[in-house]
């Protein structure tokens, strides 16, 4: 019976640790993604600035309807 309760304690520890690491991994993924997106938009903004137009103007350029 003692080993059963030992197993319950071990299970709780493993579950808590796995949940913490998994969630940290998920947050890490989320923030990597956010950072990449921000860098992309910065790069686009500086590209547009060099070209002499604002990013909004560049992004909202009318598409050909032909």
């Amino acid at each position: 019976m003692e080993s059963f309760w030992g197993a319950v304690k071990l299970m709780l520890f493993v579950y808590a640790l796995a949940a913490a690491i998994s969630l940290i991994t998920a947050w890490m993924i989320k923030y990597i993604f956010v950072v990449i997106r921000m860098q992309k938009s910065h790069a686009e903004a500086s590209k547009s600035a060099k070209a002499g137009t604002s990013p909004t103007q560049g992004g909202a350029a009318p598409k050909s309807t032909a």
Binding site: V14, A18, S22, T25, I29
Partner: protein, 405 residues
């Protein structure tokens, strides 16, 4: 002309007659079971990729028992317990499947090869749609992996054996093989067979669980397709290399699995078509074929007569059932968190049987509402499940197997 004895000529029958009645009965049962697996695999009731080679292996090895010497019976397929250089050198020359077993199976290489193939056919981008929500589902879908462990200990298994059978709850067969090889080498054959047998049944069993626990109006919730971001290959590669490296750093014992999975993903996203075709085709299907064949060949009469097998059958079923329930609970949690916009059926996909459980989720949502498209989220939960399963295996193996410094 030499004197011909009928039983000397047909040694498969002779060994059946000469052996213990219980062994003979087990051999007949396993031959019948092997034939049934081939039939059900060919019919599509069970997973054909694994069940057809496994079935033919089981039937052949239990039929093909012969006299290796005057008193010793055995086969010329595999000797799984051969160890030591001399003995191994002998059996490598006699048993025709021994080279594959020794060099790919007993060291876990075959599980890693399957993982490379899975990586090469998995789109990791699905996980990036909603990583935290997908991971919440994946964690709750480990309920069976967790609860089965103390139950198995309570039923008399050692910690290592209990952890190995509990990993069936991850529904990730290569992971089960890898964990059982490291944690309970004596039981890895029955545990892996139990895992593959049950996993091939998830496609048939989980839909009933979904219908039982989720009302039709919730099963038919439509997901907003506009929330799916456009994720570039570079972003997926960045994610894979960072996540893979961090996980290897945390759990070196599971590093071969992490590396194998993420190398498959990176090769796919880098667009190296030759490698993608190789890993996702030849390596994945070649490994799956030999995995099935070797598992079948390892399923000899002695295996089924192990008293622990009945216990393993029960615990394996329990682990998968609890994981399915846990996944659905996770689906409900995210449904509430999201303000009732998330389809709770996606929860079943947290059980990481890629891509079967995601397909089950999509099928059930579609049956409730033909406009419900949930597959991208379900695949995200499935891929998250692979990662959370590998983390759990890493923790179990580190705690129970790896010596402390």
């Amino acid at each position: 002309m030499p004197e011909i004895h009928f039983l000397h000529l047909f040694q498969g029958i002779a060994t059946m007659v000469a052996s213990d009645p219980l062994i003979a009965a087990a051999r007949v049962l396993l031959i019948a079971l092997g034939i049934a697996f081939v039939y059900l695999g060919a019919k599509g009731t069970l997973e054909p990729l694994i069940m057809i080679p496994m079935g033919i292996g089981m039937a052949s090895v239990n039929a093909g028992v012969l006299y290796l010497s005057a008193k010793n019976m055995g086969t010329i397929f595999i000797d799984p317990i051969a160890s030591g250089p001399d003995k191994l050198f002998d059996v490598l020359q006699i048993n025709f499947l021994q080279p594959i077993y020794t060099f790919t199976f007993s060291n876990g290489l075959i599980a890693c090869l399957v993982f490379m193939g899975i990586g090469a056919i998995s789109d990791i981008g699905y996980m990036l749609i909603a990583p935290v929500r997908c991971m919440i589902i994946a964690i709750t879908a480990e309920l069976g992996t967790m609860l089965t462990f103390p139950i198995a200990v309570g039923l008399g298994l050692h910690y290592n054996e209990a952890a190995a059978i509990a990993v069936v709850g991850t529904a990730d067969a290569p992971m089960v093989l890898y964990a059982s090889l490291l944690l309970a080498r004596d039981l890895f054959v029955p545990i892996t067979i139990v895992a593959y047998l049950y996993l091939s049944l998830t496609y048939g069993g989980y839909p009933y669980l979904v219908r039982l626990l989720i009302p039709k109006e919730l099963r038919g919730i439509k997901m907003d397709q506009k929330t799916i971001p456009n994720i570039s290959a570079g972003e997926k590669i960045t994610f894979s290399i960072i996540t893979g490296t961090v996980l290897c750093l945390l759990f070196p014992v599971a590093a071969p699995l992490f590396m194998s999975f993420f190398v498959g993903v990176i090769v796919r996203e880098a667009g190296v078509k030759q490698y993608v075709d190789f890993l996702g085709g030849t390596v994945l299907y070649g490994s799956t074929f030999f995995l099935g064949l070797l598992l079948g060949v390892l399923f000899e009469a002695d295996t089924i007569l192990n008293p622990k097998v009945i216990l393993l059958l029960f615990l394996g079923m329990l682990a998968l059932l609890l994981s399915g329930i846990g996944g659905i609970i996770g689906g409900y949690i995210v449904y509430w968190i999201s303000g009732r916009t998330f389809n709770p059926v996606i929860g079943i996909a947290g059980v990481s049987c890629v891509p079967t459980t995601a397909k089950v989720a999509q099928k059930e949502a579609h049956a409730a509402n033909k406009f419900a498209m949930i597959l991208p989220w379900a695949m995200g939960a499935c891929v998250s499940g692979v990662i959370s399963s590998a983390i759990i295996v890493g923790i179990y193996v580190t705690l129970l197997q790896v010596p402390s410094p």
